[in-house]
């Protein structure tokens, strides 16, 4: 977690202007989107379960920067950030959160179950750990088709205790499948800290008995993520098999909107927020290196806030799905 690994000052080599600003923009979009989603939830426009990604933005932003066209992404239920990082339209994501017809699943999936074939985003899965064998199956298909693509399966520290994760690890390693497993260790499996739920808390070691390489990464530093991600993706793409990256990160909000987060102290959250925030960290470097001014970044923020507000307005104006939608998409028609 941030506390353990990011106490050192982030002194990175000179950043490339475009990339630094893109990372800043991508992470900030996720943050602003999630803040707005939390607000809409509080107003009753978003229902059910809603798991926010605030604090973890550097993980998916840095990782997705390592992928190329055709590579697939799959994750669990804390998925809004992943969708935005896959370049899915915030309007369509927000409209799915509000259960409207313009949502990515036409209102039939909700927060935890969203997909975009076009963007190679394979969900959005509500059963903890299920995305790991599913993502491994995507990698199996890539190898079968010999298409040179890699799949990335994201899951949390909580999911890392599911048996099916290890069933998938075994087959991925046995068959050298092109997949990168990204464990987003945000320190808490719902309300149970990693020290209380994992016998081996260094989760990147969980692949050792399957002969899967693993490393831990400062998941609060988008550049550290990207560096590790590039290595892992290259490894998988070269045909050497799976790779595990444990991203030490932190979620600021509760597990879901209904979590009062009594299992941790307010000071712990505040400490990460003020000393290890991935967006503030990058912002400091950008200003320090003269890539952009405080005012430039404020302008970006303003633009993103407006974009997210548009998405929110859109998601409230979009009609509920037509009653006929109740009966569609249960089965595909059989070709004659």
């Amino acid at each position: 977690m941030a506390k353990a690994t990011t106490t050192k000052r982030r002194v990175s080599p000179k950043l490339k202007r475009d990339e630094a600003l893109k990372f800043y923009r991508d992470m900030l979009l996720i943050r602003r989107f999630e803040e707005r989603a939390g607000q809409l939830y509080g107003m009753g426009h978003i229902a059910g379960f809603c798991h926010l990604y605030i604090g973890q933005e550097a993980v998916v932003t840095g990782m997705q920067a390592c992928l190329k066209d055709g590579d697939q992404t799959i994750t669990g239920y804390r998925d809004h950030g992943h969708m935005l990082a896959c370049d899915m339209d915030p309007k369509g994501v927000m409209a799915e959160l509000t259960g409207r017809s313009d949502g990515y699943s036409r209102g039939k999936g909700g927060s935890m179950h969203m997909f975009s074939r076009e963007k190679n985003f394979f969900g959005g899965h509500g059963i903890v750990g299920a995305q790991v064998p599913l993502g491994t199956g995507l990698a199996f298909a890539n190898k079968y088709k010999n298409n040179g693509n890699v799949s990335v399966a994201y899951f949390g520290d909580g999911a890392s205790n599911q048996g099916q994760v290890y069933e998938a690890f075994n087959m991925a390693s046995l068959w050298d499948l092109p997949i990168v497993y990204v464990i987003e260790n945000n320190q808490y499996a719902m309300g149970t800290s990693v020290q209380r739920h994992a016998s081996e808390t260094e989760l990147y070691k969980r692949g050792i008995s399957f002969e899967i390489e693993g490393e831990d990464v400062d998941g609060m530093d988008v550049y550290a993520v990207k560096k590790a991600g590039e290595k892992a993706v290259k490894y998988a793409r070269s045909g050497k098999g799976p790779y595990i990256l444990e991203m030490k990160t932190y979620r600021y909000r509760g597990h879901s909107m209904s979590d009062p987060a009594k299992y941790r102290k307010r000071e712990e959250v505040d400490d990460v927020r003020s000393h290890h925030d991935p967006i503030d960290g990058l912002k400091g470097q950008i200003i320090e290196q003269g890539i952009a001014t405080e005012a430039d970044l404020k302008a970006i923020d303003k633009e993103l806030r407006a974009r997210v507000k548009d998405a929110a307005d859109f998601s409230l104006q979009s009609p509920e799905p037509d009653a006929s939608e109740l009966w569609t998409d249960v089965l595909l028609p059989v070709e004659a």
Partner: protein
Amino acid sequence: MAVDILMPALSPTMEEGTLAKWLKAEGDTIGAGDVIAEIETDKATMEVEAVDEGVLAKILVAEGTEGVKVNAVIAVMAEEGEDAGSVEANPVPASPANAGASETKSPVPVVGDSGMRPLVSRDNRPLTNPEIPDGTTFTDTVLRDALRDAMAEEMRRDEAVFIMGEEVAEYQGAYKVTRELLQEFGDRRVVDTPITEHGFAGLGVGAAFGGLKPIVEFMTFNFAMQAIDHIINSAAKTLYMSGGQMGCPIVFRGPNGAASRVGAQHSQDYAAWYANVPGLKVVAPYDAADAKALLKAAIRDPNPVIFLEHELLYGNSFPVPDLDDYVLPIGKAAVKRAGTDVTLVAYSRMVGFALEAAEELASQGISAEVVDLRSIRPLDLDTVVESVKKTNRIVTCEEGWRHMGVGAEIAAGVTEFAFDYLDAPPMRVTQKDVPLPYAGNLEAMSLPGPADIVEAAKAVCEGM
């Protein structure tokens, strides 16, 4: 005294086999544990080891003999000090070992030698089968080979089709259903998995999302309970949850229901479980022709299909039409025997029992119509209702439990759609409401058979 060496049963369901080879000759001294012969079943070649020590006195069944019944005396061994030349075989009574597993080998008579397989009415008037063109010839095929042929044909037709599961490749299938597929298609498309049902079911679903058409074999559907989360939550529901984006063309197949004396954890009929789930199709064929045609349809189907086979039918031979590409639509029942007095609705192995029961009922003056559901979801209630409108009575037959079972759904359906036609309440023939016992007598009591169907049919026909 002389010791008889008996033809061994090498699997729970074996009834006979071929004595392939003697590895010892008359007069040879044998130690306990020595391999004395090789036995071939339709599934495997196995070695027979001696249990006792002595001298092989007489070989009674020559090597190469086919159809040797389990427990037949195949050789006699002289014990130490005994004169090997003077021993005689002890007479052995017929074995009761598989008494509970009697099977109708050929419930539908094959008329003449034309190879035609007509469906027969009570007065033996052939019914035409609209699915098979007139003049088609038939070849007797055991069910497991028909399933294998279906997979091989579809794998030749579509590069995206592959099979994965435990022992499907090198071992040639735990029940030999995938025999020779590895040799033809190689290990890229015939994939042995670790024993990891939850994992490989999920991996298969992911591969289907990724554009492949997996056939996932479960060694038995009992083990698929480990994988049921991926079957239902990942395979069946994702199309809906994605607003139609995430199709999942996958077949989950394997033996379902009771085997023989394997106990409760290996003997459950899951038809009602899977048929409960929107987003799945559930197929449970009886004969080899339907099994082949429906498995081909299942592989081509863009949706997840649960394909329930029956271990006790794998070795049964049925006429299969000699057609290049015989495919049946999923969701259509078939009238396997026409009748006028009572409708017997069944699926999978129970169809054979229903046909046996119909034969017995005919001899008692009751004309039973046998409807083979073939597909449990979609359920062809139309065919059932049409039959009931004619017979006015119905008995449902299933190997699964009664409570919330397939029969309950059919009874509700005919009550809803043919209420005014019913002359008696629907009756259900099912497994007893207990985990399947191991003991032979209790197992036989628990599982439904032809006699139960006859009894139920007579009950609904009372006062007719």
